[in-house]
């Protein structure tokens, strides 16, 4: 697995391996043999790499590790490669709420002309003994709510329509 670290805001790709006797850091610029030994002080370690010996202190947090070395503090964050490399979700949100299955409208929370925020409940439907709240796919203005409380609807009927987004 490839790892991506963020050191003081800058992303670095590397992969820590072990050759049987010591750690080896594989970086895009080649491999570096390294060794980390505890000094006995809380969070204290001696780092040996490229013939250089450095005393450092580590503080490990849930989101990042802080390295104190040479009088400076570096924040090293781990970036999940699968998440980072997935890129931004390119999909545009739909203007319509389409019925996922046939059912009955239990209640309607908004009317045409209402301004809604993403995630705001628009209506509650019931099908197969389950009540499901359908929410706004994005911020916008309600254009149409074709069904009223108690109405039955079919699969893929449009249950709510938002006004087109203005560019």
């Amino acid at each position: 697995m490839q790892r991506i670290f963020q050191i003081d805001g800058e992303e670095t790709e590397c992969w820590l391996g072990h050759d049987g006797s010591r750690f080896v850091l594989n970086t895009p610029n080649g491999t570096v043999a390294c060794q980390l030994d505890p000094t006995g002080l809380p969070g204290g370690y001696t780092l040996r790499a490229k013939g250089v010996v450095r005393e450092l202190r580590l503080a490990v947090g849930p989101e990042a590790t802080f390295v104190h070395m040479n009088g400076r503090t570096y924040e090293v964050g781990r970036v999940d490669p699968a998440e980072r490399l997935a890129g931004s979700d390119g999909g545009t949100s739909d203007d319509r709420l389409v019925a996922p299955m046939p059912g009955v409208v239990v209640s309607v929370a908004v009317k045409p002309g209402d301004t809604v925020e993403e995630g705001q409940p628009l209506l509650v439907i019931e099908s197969m003994k389950l009540e499901t709240t359908l929410t706004a796919p994005r911020d916008g203005v309600v254009a149409e709510m074709p069904f009223a409380e108690g109405d039955s609807f079919g699969l893929k009927d449009i249950l709510a329509q938002l006004a087109p987004e203005e560019k």
Partner: protein
Amino acid sequence: MRRIESLIDTNAADYKANYAAMSERLKEFHARQHAARFERPQRDIDRLERQNKLGVRERLKLLLDPGTPFLEFSTLAACREYDGTVPGAAVVTGIGIVQGREVAIHANDASVKGGAWYPHTVKKVVRLLDVALENRLPVVHICDSAGGFLPLQHGVFPDRYLGGRVFRNQVKLSQANIPQIAVVGGHCTAGGAYVPTLSDYNIIIEGTGAIFLGGPPLVKAATGEEVGVQELGGAVMHTSVSGTGDYRAATEQHAFSLAREIVSQWKRTPKTIIETASYEEPYYEPKELYGIIPKDRKTQFDMREVLARVVDGSRFHEYQPDYGTTMICGYAHIWGYKVGILANNGVLFNDSSLKAAHFIQLCNQNRTPLVFFQNITGYMVGREYEERGIAKDGAKMLMAQGGSVVPKFTVIANASYGAGNYGMCGRAWDARTLFMWPQAEIGVMGADQAANTMADVKIRQLQREGKELSEEEIAAIRDPVLEKFRRDVEAYTSTSELWDDGILDPADTRNALGMSISASLNAPIDDPHYGIFRL
């Protein structure tokens, strides 16, 4: 694996209302559980003391390794039977640790009806021995029983899964080289005599323990012979004359230290190796489940929010995240053990059923145990879905699930209705353990649907006879049916009838699963093989 991003707002009014409702339910649940374990009429407590016997909970304390967990099964068995007078069905069962080994425990509770076997007692013991067989767990029996409860002998004795099955399972355990030990701390009469005699080892406590096919009163009635308990089947006679007993213990304390010593002689079989990671607590607080489970059972909720409060580090690798979205499939770790999770996020459609069938095969391929989280109202009905072959796709899911070779575990987290219960590894599908949450419901359909269906049949029948019914008359037909159905689908009915291995506080789910998975690895995992998938 990435952490599930929870969208729960713990300050929201809904969350707080749910939390309050669940807390109220749990208060009742914990009180009932405490009563079933510890509250007894004074005369029963006095009798045990007079007989110089320890209670079953003290005996377990002497047996189990201090500071280790005990996974107790079906504490509330029989809670809705016999007017509630047989708490726990007069027996304690579970998985515990003795000398570092996982063992199945079957212990009579003599503070309840002298430890007599009621129909539900037999069901609970047979289930425990099935657990021992499936998971290859050694068994410790603690015998102290008045024998079968005679007025209900037809529910205790004759059928395939009744009394005889206890002894049959003991034979099968022995045949599979799974060791058993019995500590006789009371009478083992008639059939009960076979529990210690079919065990590989047994210990009889002097003064209180005795084994005989017929007790003194029966012997007198049958042959006229007058004989005392000790001469007929006491510790001294059996360990020095008949050889029916192996060890004589001077006291209860002596008996259980001997039992521990014997268990430590047993060969340890290496556990099945599956993928593991280092143990990590969930990132999100498990008690937040109380606010996530809607107080109205019909309200939909995102099962990922539940998984985030059960699995290690709240980390989840989701399989096919954008396909068949009413079925969540993916990998996670529980107590460090890699598991494949199937969790309902709505009704089962064609695509969600196919996704489940495929994912189950993936887990069998790489020997990953399966964990099912049920919140299922059924497979989708209607013309559109029948034309797409919903029954055929459901059959594929059943074929994959039922044909699995990996251990399976089921949590009924909310609804468990109809064929959805089957697809999601309900009781009939050999889950190694199956637990229910206190607000969960189980039935062939929801209480309202069942009551309406039955009332409609009745109303139409009366209409055919020319009777016009008023609103009140219809209500008079429907309401009692509805009342009965509402009670029948409750978790307390399920657990009373041993359709599950117990009700869980949702926050304890993670530990119950962790122990179950750990125990299951005492048995090997076969190579995957299946029946015919209807394509």
